[in-house]
Each structure stands twice: as C-alpha cells, then as structure tokens.
Subunit: 749 residues, 2 copies
C-alpha cells in the first residue's frame, strides 16, 4: 500500500510539466502591437516590482515566525520537544517557500498572458479564450501540484512511510507556513488592488469624468497591476494553503484509522485523491479547445460572453463528473482493512465514495448559489439596481439586505453536506484499538472525504479564477491601445465572464473552507488526544466559561480583522486619490483637449504608492490575526482555543460570504445599469429590462452614479476583507494545530 505514495509524486511532477507546457503554449503566442506591449510591459514591471518587495517582506516575517515557532516548541512543547521544534520550523519554511514559488511563477505567466490575449482577440474568440484560460491554468496547476508535492515529500522525508502514526503531526508546520504566506499575500494584494481601483475610479471616473481604463488616468496601470496581485497571487496563495492544510488535516484523521487497520492507505488517501483531481482538472481544461468554440455573431444572437461561459461550464462539469468516478475508485483502492466494515454489508469504499460525491455536489451547489446572488439574471442584483432609482442611500441599504440574506443558502448547503457526509461516513464501523469511545471516527472521516472530493477540482477552479485578471488586463490593454470595436467586444465579454468566475472561486473557497472546518477541528482534537490520551479533550464544551469567552473573542476577531482590512484600503486609497489629484493639478497636459498635445501621466508613481501603502497596511491585521489565537491558547488553554477556532471559523464563513456576495452584487448591479437594463416608465417606475418602451437609465445617469457608489463600497468587501477572511480561518486552524503541544504543556489535562 505504501507504493501509492508514488501516485502523488508522479502526478505532481506530471502536473508541473503540464504547467510548463501551458506556459510555453502561452509564451509562444505573439505579444501584440507595440502599443499593446507598452501597456503590458508597464503592468509587468509594476506587478513584479510589487511581488518582489512583498515577498521580501513576507520572507523576513516568515523566517522570524519559523524561528520563534521552532524555539517555542523546542523549549515549551510536549513530547520529544527538540525534534518537534526543528521539524515544524523546517516544514514551515518549505511550505512558505513552495507557496511563494507557486504564486510567483503563476503570476509571471499571468502578466505575460494579457497582451497575448488582447492580440489573440484581434483574430478570434477561440484563440483569446485559449490563451487566457491556459495562462490562468499555469497558476492553477502549479499551486495544486506544488502543494501536493510539498506535503508528500515532507511527509516522506519525515519518515511517514516507516512511522506513519507520527509524521502527519510533524508536517503541520508546512500548512502553517503556507497559511502564513497566504495571509500576507492576500492582504497585501487585496489592499493594493482596491487602493488603486478606488483611487482610479473616484478621481478618474467621478471627478475628471474619463472612462474606465483611460490612459490619461495616472492610476490606471496600478489598477491593472492590482487585479493580478489580488486575484492571481493572492487567491493562488489562498488555495495553496487550503489544499495543503486540508490534506494534512485529513492525514491526521487517517492516523486513527491506520491504527485500527494497519493500512497506510487511510493516511495516503488525501494525497492520492488530490493527484486524481489534478488529472480530472487537466481533462476538463483540455476539453476546451479552439474547435469547440463557436465564433461570436451578434446579429445571430451568438454572444461572445455566453459562448465562453458555456465552454468553461462544460469543462467544469467534465472535471466534476470524472472526479466522482475517481473518488469511488480511490476509496476502493485505499480505504480497506480488516477491522472496518460497512452497514448492511455495503463495503466502506461505497459509503466513502458517496461522502466524496456529496462534497463534489456541494461545489456545484455553490456555483449556482453564488451566481444567484451576484448575477444580473436574478432577483438580488435587480433589487439593488431598482434601489439606485432612489439614490445611493437606498442602494447601500438594499445591498446590505442582500448581503445579510445571502448567508442563509450557503450555510444550509454546507450544513446539509456536512450532515450527509458524516452520515455516510458513520455507516462505516471502525473498531479502534485504543478507542477513546467518544467520537465517531467514520463520520468525521466522511466529512474529510467530502472535503477531498470538493477540492479535486481546485486546479480547474483556480485556472478560471486567474483567467479573470488576465482578461481584465486584456480589456484594459485593448482599450488603452485603441483597438477596433469587434476586438473590444471580445475582450469585454471575456472580462465579464472573468468577473463571474472570480466570484465563483470565492464561493468555492469559502465553501471548501467551511466543509474543511469540521475536519481541521477534529484533527486538532486528535492531536490533543495524542498528548496524554485523555478522552476528555474531545469535548469542546460551550458551557465552560473559558470556552465561551474564547468563542466570543473568536467571533470578534473576525469583525476586528475585517475592520483593519477595510480601513487599510481606505488609508491606501486616500494617498492614491491625493496623488492622482496632484498629477492632474500640476500637469494639465495630461488632460489636454487635443490628443496630440497630451503627455502620459506618471504611472510609476501611482504603482509605487499602492505598493508602499499595501505593504505597510498588511502588517497590523496580519500580526493581530496570528497573535490572537496564540494568546487565547496560551492563557485559556487548548479547549478554549478549540472554541475560538470553531466559532471564529463559523464567523469567518458567514462574514466572508456576507462581504463577497454583497460586494459582488453591488458590482453587478452597476454593470446591469451600464448594460442598459435599467429601464423606467414615465412615472419613474422600473419596467422590464428589455421593455422596448422603457426609458433606459444608463451610464452617467443619476442611478448609475448611485450604482458606482455601491460598487465602490463593495470593492474592499469583496476583494480585500472577504478573501482575507478565507485565509484567516484556515490560518486559525493551522496555527492551532502547530501550537497544540504548547497549549497542552501549559495547561495539562
């Protein structure tokens, strides 16, 4: 059974090769006209400059953190302290390093793909789609494969094959390192992108009255850079961490089953599933090829956006379909052993296959729920669009009603998936050797299998996500280099599709984090149990006042962290606004009437302001996120820490959904108006969006201005605070797992 370790190693290496193939495919494409190249080069330079400086800061913080964690565990931990300390510190650094490499290369290719996409769009939709999606897939496959290889190799190096019961606990440092990097990458990227965006919009669009992506706007390049560092590098680090942390958590849960069965397959299961998921994602991705893409024809009703979205959806469904087959297969191959039986003689692998399928179906449910709340086709966005008729105040109020409301369906879906996968898992009866007798091992492993199932499509989802900033940039490049309308139609359509896929990725991210919460939490309790073997650790009792207080503080941390993230955007945006205003004031030639008299604004300075603002502002929220759980665990003990972890995670799920979908709905309500769908009758009442007698209230109308206010408010919600919360809740898990020996040592049972 140990030989299965070669599956993740082999597939991981193949996936790296596949990413290299995709990169070379993209890089071989032509880079477009000189005008396109000029814009693209400016974006490339800005993005790389930011990434270099950001990673230097993060590296310094990471080395510091690794040393502190290693020393603390070596001095104050439990068990074989010295070994624990250095293993954790080294794993931490490897995790941090792999996350950085995946982010760096992925973004390198992404910012090389934008002008190539713009150039391809001058030829055909099919080619433009191919370049942008494959460019995005480089990031997707690198993130998942490096995470998989990293966990697998560290596990093996730490003696996982000879001593499987101990190794998973030693490698938790890898997950912590990954989430540490992710927290700062997402925070820094999120602050950068929104400071630039808000600054560019408020002065450029609102005050100076120039269109989006206009080359006269000094902040335009910073804005285009921001899309990459936020959505590509930030989200990549986020999902790198997800896949790493959730693999490790599931491996820890597998230890109990390994002990019962002597079968290492239970521990290797997450790695093998992930490998098969990479394979399924590659098939889904490769299915999308030029020959299946119909070229658009507006007259014949063939909308380019609809064509592209349909292909992406087909690819996703193919990935999911193959994943369902694979999850049964891997369960069949790995999850067996003498002491494990299923209810009604149905073999265990069938029950676990069903649990995995539940997770895959949850990912599809999230796609639809997110679309319902953020796409113009349904009630919520239309409600906000209608509210713009009475001004910005009602626009914001209605958006908040939507944001508060949109939490319910995802939570019900998660609850159902958790309950169902737990039920399927608990149909498998495990006869444990040292049974603490208080937990349902099968049920908990069922939720882990569901999480693994859901995460099989991560590489595909991440390809769709990075597709977003590439097409957004391609749109900007097309606009700034003055291409023909037919080209703009294609890039605009792809940009719109990219907005949808970015929203979906956030939904997917939060859904998988929620599903994983129970597994990570249970892994933490397993780790606590491994020190001292007291069954009492399995109870996290809210009736205990320390647990209660810690839980309340966990929930509050979510709110306070959101405040800091939003405030950071405000502070950085303020500096950007002042700079843009200064340039317009001091250099009137930027806005000269005759285009021949115009000079370029100083883009680099705006890029620099965003960079410095983001790097400065990311530190405080990051440090508070790290120190709060450490303080609670140290002062109030491991059970209270579990309370903080659980209720903090619940709060993170709910608040992130609130922020992501609220922001997305405002964004799309504005786009709904811009598309000419807001129509009224003579009394000013809203009529059907296609009513030919309706008066169209489009760009520059008062409702549109109110819509822009809503969109701007939503920006830091959906692109800074919300995504950072995804990372925060996983950081809570990994930090808790890593420091469990410290808490146990300080508060022995």
């Amino acid at each position: 059974m140990s030989n299965y370790i070669f599956v993740p190693i082999g597939v991981g290496l193949l996936a790296v090769a596949f990413a290299a193939y995709l990169a070379s495919y993209v890089l071989r494409k032509d880079t477009g006209t000189p005008a396109m190249q000029k814009v693209s080069d400016a974006i490339f330079k800005g993005a790389m400059a930011f990434l270099n400086r950001q990673y230097r800061t993060i590296a310094a913080l990471a080395v510091l953190a690794a040393i502190i964690v290693g020393l603390v565990l070596a001095l104050l931990g439990t068990g074989d302290k010295i070994s624990l300390g250095w293993h954790t510190a080294v794993a931490f650094l490897i995790g941090a390093f792999c996350s950085g490499v995946a982010g760096y290369i992925g973004m390198y290719v992404a910012v090389k793909s934008n002008s190539r996409t713009a150039s391809a769009a001058t030829r055909s939709l099919g080619e433009a789609l191919m370049v942008s999606l494959r460019g995005g897939a480089v990031s997707g496959f690198l993130v998942v494969s490096l995470s998989l290889l990293g966990v697998t190799l560290v596990f093996t190096a730490y003696g996982g094959l000879t001593n499987p019961a101990v190794a998973p606990s030693l490698i938790v440092g890898f997950g912590f390192g990954a989430s540490f990097v992710a927290l700062f990458a997402q925070l820094g990227g999120g602050i950068y992108t929104k400071a630039a965006d808000v600054g560019a919009d408020l002065v450029g669009k609102v005050e100076a009255g120039i269109p989006e992506d206009d080359p006269r706007n000094p902040a335009v390049i910073a804005d285009l850079v921001g899309d990459n560092v936020g959505d590509c590098a930030g989200r990549g680090a986020d999902l790198f961490e997800s896949t790493a942390a959730e693999n490790i958590g599931a491996m820890i849960l597998g230890v109990a089953l390994y002990a019962a069965t002597g079968n290492i397959g239970w521990i290797l299961f997450p790695l093998v599933v992930r490998a098969f998921g990479l394979f399924a994602s590659a098939v889904g991705l490769l299915w999308i090829r030029p020959s299946v893409v119909t070229e658009p024809d507006k007259a014949a009703g063939k909308d380019p956006g609809e064509i592209a979205m349909k292909q992406l959806n087909i690819g996703y469904f193919i990935t999911c379909g193959i994943s369902i087959i694979f999850i049964f297969l891997v369960s069949y191959l790995l999850l067996s052993g003498g002491n494990v039986t299923g209810t009604n003689s149905v073999p265990p692998w069938v029950w676990f296959g069903l649990a995995g399928t539940t997770g895959i179906l949850l990912s599809i449910a999230f796609v639809y729920i997110t679309q319902y709340y953020t796409a113009g086709t349904w009630r919520p966005v239309r409600e906000i669009a209608a509210a713009t008729l009475t001004g910005p105040a009602t626009t914001i109020i209605t958006g908040f009603a939507v944001a508060f409301e949109c939490v319910a369906l995802p939570v019900l879906a998660i609850s159902a998936a958790l309950g169902l996968s737990f039920f399927f898992g608990s149909q498998v009866h495990v006869h444990l050797v040292n049974n603490p007798g208080v937990i349902n091992v099968g049920g908990i492993f069922g939720t882990a299998v569901a999480t693994m199932g859901m995460l099989m499509s991560t590489a595909y989802i991440l390809a769709m996500d990075t597709f977003g900033p590439i097409t957004d940039n391609a749109g900007g490049i097309t606009e700034m280099s003055g291409q023909a309308e037919a080209v703009r139609d294609i890039t605009d359509a792809l940009d719109g599709v990219g907005n949808t896929t970015k929203a979906l990725t956030k939904g997917y991210g939060i859904g998988s984090a929620a599903l994983a919460a129970f597994l990570l939490f249970s892994a933490y309790l397993d780790v606590l149990y491994s020190y001292g073997h007291k069954a009492a650790v399995y109870s996290v009792d809210l009736a205990n006042i320390a647990v209660f207080v810690a839980a309340l503080i966990g929930l509050t941390l979510i709110f306070f962290f959101s405040a800091l993230a939003i405030r950071a955007v405000g502070a950085a945006a303020k500096r950007m606004i002042e700079e843009v205003r200064r340039q317009f004031r001091e250099n009137p030639k930027i806005m000269a009437e005759d285009p021949a008299d115009r000079v370029d604004p100083d883009y680099a300075r705006c890029v620099d302001i965003s960079t410095r603002g983001a790097l400065r502002a990311m530190v405080l929220p990051g440090v508070i996120a790290v120190l709060t759980p450490v303080a609670i665990g140290t002062i109030l003990g491991p059970q209270a820490e579990a309370g903080l972890l659980m209720v903090g995670t619940m709060g993170g799920i709910v608040v992130a959904t609130f922020l992501n979908n609220g922001g997305g709905a405002w964004d799309n309500a504005k786009k709904y108006i811009e598309a000419g769908y807001l129509r009224v009758n003579e009394q000013g009442e809203m009529v059907d969006r296609l009513d030919p007698n309706g008066i169209v209230l489009g760009k520059k109308s008062e409702p549109h201005k109110a819509g822009v206010v809503g969109d701007t408010v939503g920006d830091p919600f959906k692109d800074t605070a919300g995504p950072s919360l995804h990372v925060l809740i996983k950081l809570l898990s990994t930090i808790t797992l890593v420091l469990a020996p410290l808490y146990v040592a300080l508060h022995p049972f």
Copy 2:
C-alpha cells in the same frame, strides 16, 4: 426568609404609585400654545392608532402562540405534562399582557409629554428637563415594576413559596410571553419609525430641499410618531422582557443553591435585588430637580446640552453608587446557608457583592465605550466626517470600518466582566446534595449576580431612553409651531442629549443581554438536568456535528433576520416615498411660495402607510425568529439547541453592536458637519474642528450630502435591525427554556 417575597411586591406597588405620581406631575403641566397642541394632538392620534392596531395584531399572534405552546407541552412534554402545559400558557399570556400594559401607558404619557416639554422650554431649561425626564420615567418605572410584580405574583401563585424547586420552571412562560410581545413591538416600531424617517428625509430634505421637521413635509408627523413607537414602546418592551427573562433565569439557577442550603433566599434574590434597584433608580431620578439645573447662557459658555447631560450623568452615578451598596446588602441578607462557604473564610455575600459590583461597573464601561464610538468628540465619528470629503462611497466604507471595529472593546469588557464575576462567584463553595459534579454552581451564580447588579439601574436607563423621543418630538413641535430661537436652542440641545441617551440605552441593552447570556444558557442546562438528572446534559460539545451545525445555523439566523428587518424598512420606505412624491405632485399648494397660500399636506395618510407597512412587514421576520429555534430543537435535540442558542447569542451581541454603533456613528458624523465642525484648508485637507481659519463645510455642502447618505444607511441599522436583535437573542433563550421539555421528550438522553 420567605417573607422577603413582600419586598418585590411592596416595592413594585410603590414603584407603580411613583410612576402614577410622575405621570400626574407631567399631565398637570400646561400643554402649550394652540399651535403646539395641534401638532402634539396629531402625534398623539397617530401613535395611539398605531399602538392600538399593533397590539391587536400582537394579541392575536400571542393568543395563538399560547394555545400552541400549551397544547404542545401538554401533549408532547415531559413530566406532569398537563400541568406544565396550562401553567406555561397562562404565564405566557400574563407576561404578554403586562408587557403590553407597560408599553401602552408609558407611551401614552410620553406622547402627552412632548408639547408640555416644548411649552416648558419657553420658560426654562430646568422645567423642560424635568417634564421630559419625568415623562420618560413613567415608562421606565412601569416597565420594571410591572415585570417585577408579574414574575413575583406568578411565582407565588404557582406555589413558589411552598414548592420553590419547581415553580421557576413553571413561570418561564412569562418570560417567553414578554419576549414574544417585545419581538413584534420592537420590529413593528423599528420598521415604522425608519420607514417614516427615510421617506421624510429622502423626499423632503433631499428632493424638495425643505428642512427637518418642516410642516410642509407630509411625512413629518409619521416621523415624529415613529420616534415614540420605536424608541419608547419598542425599547420598553425590550427591557421589560430583559428584566423578566433574566430574573427567571437567575431564579432557576437559585434552585440548585436552594437545594443545597434549604434557603429560599437564593431563589428570591433576583426579585429583591430588582426591588432595591428600583429604589436606587428613584433616588437618582429625584436628585435631578429644578434647583440643581443652571440656566443656560451661551455667552458665558453655559451650553444647555452640556448642563442637561451633566445632570443625567450625576443621576446615573448616584443610582450606580447606591446600587453597589444595595447589592452587598441584599447578598448579606439573602445569600447564606449552612453548606455554603467562601474562600479564605471571606463570607459568600462579600464574593457575590463583588460579582454584583462587577456588573454595575460593566454598565458604566458600556456608557463610555458607546460614547467613544458614537460621539463627535472622539476619533471614530471624526474619521467618518473626514471621509465625507471624498464622497458617499468613502463615507460608507469608513463607517463600516468603524462598525466592524467597534465590536472589540465591548466584547473584551463583557469577557472581563464574565470572567471576573465567575471568578468571584467560584470563591463560594457550594456543597450540592445531588451534585452532577460538572458545573461550578457558585461561578455561574456569580455571573447571575453581576447581571442583576447591572440591571438595577434599568428604570433609570429607560427613563433616559424615553426622554429621547419626548425631546425629539418637543423639538419638532417647537420647529413646526414657530417658536423663538432661545426656545429652539433648549429643545435642540435636549434633542441632542436624547440622541446620546438613546445610544447609551442600546449599549446597555446589548451589554446586559451579553452578560445574561451565560446565565440564561446555564439555566437552560439546569432545566434539561431537571428532566432525568443526567450529568451529560451539562456539556454542549461543539465537536458533536449536530451541535456544530446548529451553532452555524444560529449564527446565520442573526444575519438572515437582519436582512429581513432591513428589507422591511426598505419596502415600507418605498411606499412612503411614493406617497410623499404623490402629494407634492398632486397638491402644489403644499409648497406655495407665499406661506399664506399654503395648505397642510395629508399627514394622516402617511401615518396610515407607515402603520400598515410596519404591521405587514413585522410578521415574517418575527415568525422566522420563533420557528428556527423550534425546528432545530425538535429535529436535532436539546444539546444542538443549546449550540444554536449560544452561538446565535454571540452573533446577536456582535452584529447588534456592529449595527447600533455603526448607525450611531454615521448619524453623529452628519450632526458633526451640521454643527460646523468640518473645516478644511485651501487644499481641501481637514483641519481642527475649531480652527478659525478653516473653511466650514456645513449644511448643504457636498460633504454634508455624503453625511446624509451615511445617516440614512445607518437608520435601519441602529433603529430597526440592531434593537430587534437584542430582543431576538433573549427570545432564543426564553423559547428554548419553555420548550426544553419538548426537546427532551423527543430526544431522550
């Protein structure tokens, strides 16, 4: 010891007499000029018409709920079902009735006090303060005394003195009835007031450009009515329920100590403390008399608002000071018994006195924290005011950063108070007869004593709260009846003070609810334990998947309920906006240039629209709030219900604070601008608020418009959703307590 039952009965009756005295004091005052009376009569009619219709609806719902609850318990409960069923149903109806009576009479006097306050303001600040505060105190003392009398008498009637161990569980219906009424009263009132306010502001102030409280605005009377039904009737019902539910919860906790000591004093303690609290509140209130009020003199720097606020603060500190003495005294008198000893031979009453003092100090901490976040003197409001310089979007974003941030300090204060009072209580060692051995009875009772201490000042706090709508209305009446500027100065200043006291009451309400959460939760576990005596009920284990899912749903309920409440305001406001626009359009004489040509708008119709809108919109959120916990408890069982209760309560505390303080900060940022404190230099950068060289950006400036948007967004947050959440979290407790026998019957341990 049983004789102490006469303390709450006697003091309760005295407090009713005191309320009658205060009412007669106010009603004997002159009602002002005919112009004042005309406005006041219109408000009176509108308010009473709404209250009559609202209470009719609530009464129908309450009778239905009483029958269902009684039948369900009689058929499906545990123990002596029939007795349980009818006792609960009758107690429910009595609780609902008392709450209604307190709200009705209190509001009757409040709406009779407004023109009297306006008239008194023509004579002196001292007299105006006296009339408005005493008018408000009628509501305050009635609410607390009727709650106290109701609980005491039902307890006695249900055999509390002969069979003290059983009676507290039988009277929980009283608390449920009170919270049922409070939920609908607060929701209906909150929707009413904000629909009218938003409608009046958006069409009147923004579109038509007429000032606040202008008689030409058709919605102006509805707006003035709204302040009463929201702040007076709604908050009165809220605190009626608090005092009732928390008394009952503490009495249930006292049962265990009664069992250990044979001393009924442990059960009577909350009632006696409350009686002494009424006494302390009366002293604090009566301290404020005309002879201590300096008359204002602007030239000499004697600001009327500062003078009034100072008196209110002195009265509050007197109340708190006396309360500290009383809580030690009552602990000394009642909390004793052979099996109870204190650490280091310090007697138990000292430890409990310290716990009670902790609660009283928490109430003072909340006063300061709330002021920090909502008053223009400190950073948060100024930050929002500064953000108005860059428009509505940054105003909203900054307000959200403040709203997310402001949760932290209150939670830390609550955590500290909970921990400290638990610590003091746990220094008292109780040797239980049937000790389940898993809970710290003394510690939990310590948190109950802290809650009782905090709630001693409820009558005083509620007097300050109802003072708010009275002075707000007096300001409106002064404005509409065209009084001299000196008179307007007084009523405006009192109105400003009223805004502060209203915010404080909300902070107090949420703080006491948070402190009480642990006690109510523990009471629920005691009730569960009383059925079957299984120690396992005392563990509410988040590692159990049913508890986890229920907890997540509890948190989601808070968000979903907020969505419905905010949406309801939007829907009702929309109808109001349409009506005001219609009146301006169809009846141009309302806005005639020459005042002699003007006709009055149709106020009654706007009042009617608010009334119908509020009554219609309050039902759905209310029903969902009631049914969700019932569904979870029925399906997932009593432990899961406890998870929902706890995490739902945490969510309610955090989200309500977010909504209340966020809304309050926006409101006061607008007022900060209106007061002329927003000043900039020639570069447009903000300077000190008193900088004589600063350019004042006041009313009608662009930043002011942005400030109005923020204020409008905050309206449904702070006056509808936020306060309704206070009620919701206590409803979760009472509904859970009442239906515990059902859950136990369906899910036996």
